[in-house]
Assembly symmetry: C2
Homo-oligomer: 587 residues x 2
């Protein structure tokens, strides 16, 4: 049966809705695919549901090829497994929590690692049962602080999440590759441009991790890449570490008075005026070591101050620092933090270490001190002396201070060298559309998923997790397939194969259109039929352009000459085709 | 591609799981269709998901025939619409509630009347847009006090809920009938025995309401029916009201001392001993009026005592009384309630009314008094005198007391006459599998869903709501299609069309089985292939019987003679069929 526009639950909007921030959101609302229910929470209308079902079908097909088996978990799950793995706490306010009538804790699961692990534990006992890869396509909930851009970052979204279970690391590599290959096939079939970037494990824990990013200005992830194929997300980018310098014969550190130099720029000016560079060049910000005080909040709620030293021409990048201290969160220290730590002389903080040499008599502190990878032994810096209005020259790493650790603390910039030697990188923006991830044994260990190996010994299973955002993918397709008139769906996810429009008031036209529609349906085309007797051709064409079915057939005045118009929504081309040839023309 | 048992995520259980209370639950667990996650919350394994998808496909087809269009709402919804209609409060602790990070209230929707109403309000404005019928197949959550019987009464379940929108009452009748007819077709296709019973509106409000009950001992609903086609649920059963009796000349009421007669039985004994019946027969419990004190809890939390008078041979049925006072809840009065109301002389309570004559000097009370429909004017009763150790004879309705109202207060019994005159009813137990419901204008009124009528006047839309429990239906099918060996699925919802078993160790058998499987798949049969090389025939046959695919092909020893066995799981019949004739034999 064709879907008739006279009957379809649809009302297209002429105006852009005020709530829409990005193209996909605007067009999916205007064309009647979705409707907002609450911030980041949407209902799916008939057109949207059709596209979603088609995207899901493609994913299911490729999961089957990859040997993954479909199961389905509820969104509502008990707290206990998530407490065992620590994620109940780690997710903080990012998940929805609730209690049942017996006061038991539940959550709306953000992902399902824990319960898949327990399911396999419940069912399987032997290495012979493995490998197995399970997946579901399921509605997920996360209490995002800033839901935005329609489906691109919602609080409710449909996700395909898969989990693999292997006995060996080599097995995990195979399972990982099978999902990774499936993702490449899925995105290729959906015509989605993507970059596979090395990702950092973040809150999930584990080893190999790659994100599929769709490059787009509306994306909220930054990533780096270069023409030689290097790609990583900003958190995973590793700084190229310079060679260290022998300490022998390096000039001694020298403290000097430096009134009114609380900023890097004022300090550089002051030093250029008062302390000539030995080679005669100007001092620059890159010669200074900027020491920034930050506050970690650990899972148990305790707050710990740390300091991070990085070259003065670089900016602190909290998202990169957070990786080093995950699951703790990181923020700038407050005035109150400084007030409580008298040894921290704001504006004049210098390097120190708890274990190594300390510079400045008053700098004894319980605050751990970390450095950027560029701060290798033998590098000498202009930096704070931990005394009010005092700085120091030739403060040398490995001699005057030894850090408590090295962390990626700085921003990544256009032109920074890629860690694999493939040359300078550029910065791009992207939207995460998939993620493949070697979890390793973290979850199996925590939840006791062990099987008997060939020797009858219990071994812990190793796992991977693999996610695709179904509704986000749909939005990205909409974001990249449109023009000023509306959506232009790729054929394999369009809500219908063909959109047939009957125009005018002539009964014969509608009868001929009915016949064409019936023939198309008989040939297994899914047809949207604009049979509205009172809508003008302009309204019908406008709706067709907005809805975005890629092939449109207009039955109208040409009928007296035995022809209809076949309109390619993407190219805009309209061609007269004899009625008898419509089917062969489409195929 | 066939599904291979060597690969399928499945582990059948030999023992009945302790948690299973009913057959369907036991077999769905043992055969690896579902797994418990929390009380009343289940995960779906590959076999279960296949059956569920087939049930859903049948429902979708019949919804399309009925002209209903599919949409999809999230489970997580904001409180506000549910507050406007009062359901946020009415559901009490029966729904899951939660707050987001901004402290806004949300619920996991038990049903979606409110948001469907708002969606149509958002999209449609004119009578020309109507009627429209929308539905979804969606995972719902209810915080049941006593989840039980596996999928039969879960806290999470999949439901098809449809909502119709019409301008006129006649339109609603048509929409209602279309869904009702669709339900009859769905249950017929699923081979489900059902009775359509008149139901009471209960908490939903509205007019016409019918439940589809599947008669089963494990059902939790009682209903009444008779051979003439009358059927109603117990709450909707209406008592046949006897004719009233003229008051003239009836004997006067007479108070008597009645020590130690706090129960109906002791009272009847006492009266038979001390007060002969005028006709000489024995007094019976049916001659007494039992007055029961109950406590209503209103939505706003206030507690109100009421008293209900009914013949002493009847039992109070709270579920029927609750209908009269919905959305208030009803329970028995406590000792504390009696203590606070000195006029209520426990064990000797008699009738009274706030407006009418009062029997007994101390009985002045603020407690409203209701009677059962059998207590018509002119009926005379032995009843309490509202005085300690005092009862009265010949207390006559309409003369000695006038009730504040008539309500259905008594239990329904085998042999009670049906209200339509069709004769005595019997009591049966059933499981609700569908519900069709004329909501009328309640939701549209509350949420402001109005459209312009033909005269340009705003009119309130009238609605229906129609629900089918998808996962419950699946469980009912399992409950009614099994034997001591396992499940026996009807063909159209079986997880596979054919289950092919290769037996023994002979390579040639497995090769021949592969060929048969490939031929079946080519002929569009969905095949489960037991290709496990090391499992014994006994294990394979046992698993096949447990899993319950209705047609089984055994490839084994007969192969040397060119035959396989075709096994009908339902009848148990096994027949030798030449390999070349397998396909034609199946079709």
């Amino acid at each position: 049966m064709p879907t008739r526009l006279s009957h379809l639950f649809l009302r297209t909007l002429r105006e852009d809705p005020a709530e829409a921030e990005v193209t996909s959101h605007r067009l999916l609302l205007r064309a009647g695919y979705i409707r907002r229910q609450a911030p980041g929470i949407f209902a799916w209308l008939p057109l949207g549901l059709r596209v979603k079902a088609k995207v899901e079908a493609i994913i299911r097909e490729e999961m089957m090829v990859a040997g993954a088996q479909e199961v389905h978990f509820p969104a509502l799950l008990p707290k206990e497994p998530y407490e065992v793995t620590g994620r109940w706490d780690e997710y903080g306010s990012g998940i929805f929590r609730l209690k049942d009538r017996k006061d038991a804790d539940y959550l709306l699961a953000p992902t399902h690692e824990e319960v898949f692990t327990l399911l396999v534990k419940d069912m399987y006992t032997s290495y012979k049962d493995l490998p197995v890869c399970l997946y579901q396509i399921q509605d997920k909930y996360r209490d995002e602080a800033r839901p935005r851009a329609g489906l691109l970052r919602g609080r409710e979204f449909t996700m395909k999440d898969a989990y693999s279970f292997d006995v060996s690391d080599e097995g995990l590599d195979v399972s990982y590759q099978a999902q990774r290959d499936a993702y490449e096939r899925i995105f290729a079939r959906l015509g989605l441009n993507y970059v596979i970037v090395t990702a950092d494990a973040g809150a999930m824990g584990g080893s190999r991790s790659e994100e599929f990013l769709h490059p787009t200005e509306v994306g909220e992830d930054s990533f780096v890449r270069n023409a030689s194929g290097y790609a990583a997300n900003v958190e995973a980018f590793r700084t190229v570490v310079p060679a260290s310098i022998p300490l022998d014969g390096l000039p001694a550190a020298e403290v000097f008075e430096s009134p009114n130099t609380p900023t890097i720029a004022s300090l550089v000016d002051f030093v250029n005026t008062n302390h000539a560079h030995p080679t005669g060049r100007e001092w620059t910000a890159a010669d200074t070591l900027k020491n920034v005080v930050l506050a970690l909040t650990h899972l148990d709620g305790t707050r710990e101050l740390i300091a991070v030293g990085l070259p003065g021409d670089r900016e602190v990048e909290l998202s990169r620092i957070e990786i080093a201290f995950s699951p703790a969160t990181v923020e700038a220290a407050t005035e109150e933090d400084f007030a409580k730590n008298a040894a921290l002389v704001k504006g004049y903080i210098g390097p120190w270490s708890l274990g190594g040499p300390v510079l400045g008599a008053e700098a004894t502190s319980k605050v751990r001190f970390f450095v950027d990878p560029r701060v290798v032994d033998g590098t000498a810096w202009i930096t704070g002396a931990n005394l009010h209005e005092r700085h120091a020259l030739n403060v040398t790493a490995g001699r005057d201070f030894v850090a408590d650790g090295v962390i990626e603390a700085s921003d990544v910039r256009e032109g920074d060298p890629a860690p694999d030697g493939s040359g300078p990188v550029e910065i791009a923006r992207g939207m995460e559309i998939g993620h493949v991830f070697q979890l390793g044994r973290k979850y199996a260990e925590a939840l006791g998923l062990k099987v008997l190996d060939e020797n009858g010994k219990l071994v812990t299973v190793t796992m991977g997790s693999y996610g695709i955002g179904v509704t986000r993918i749909l939005a990205v397709i909409a974001e990249t397939n449109n023009d000023e008139k509306g959506l232009i769906w790729p054929e394999n996810v369009a809500p219908f194969d063909v959109h047939v429009i009957a125009t005018g008031k002539d009964e014969a036209v509608y009868e001929a259109a009915e016949k064409i529609v019936a023939d198309l349906e008989a040939a297994r085309y899914d047809v949207l039929f604009d049979d509205r007797p009172k809508a003008s051709p302009g309204v019908k064409f406008g709706d067709a352009e907005l809805i975005g079915v890629p092939r449109i057939i207009i039955v109208g005045k040409g009928l007296v000459d035995g022809v209809v118009e076949v309109w390619n929504r993407r190219t805009g081309e309209r061609r007269s085709v004899p009625v008898a040839e419509v089917l062969s023309h489409l195929s």
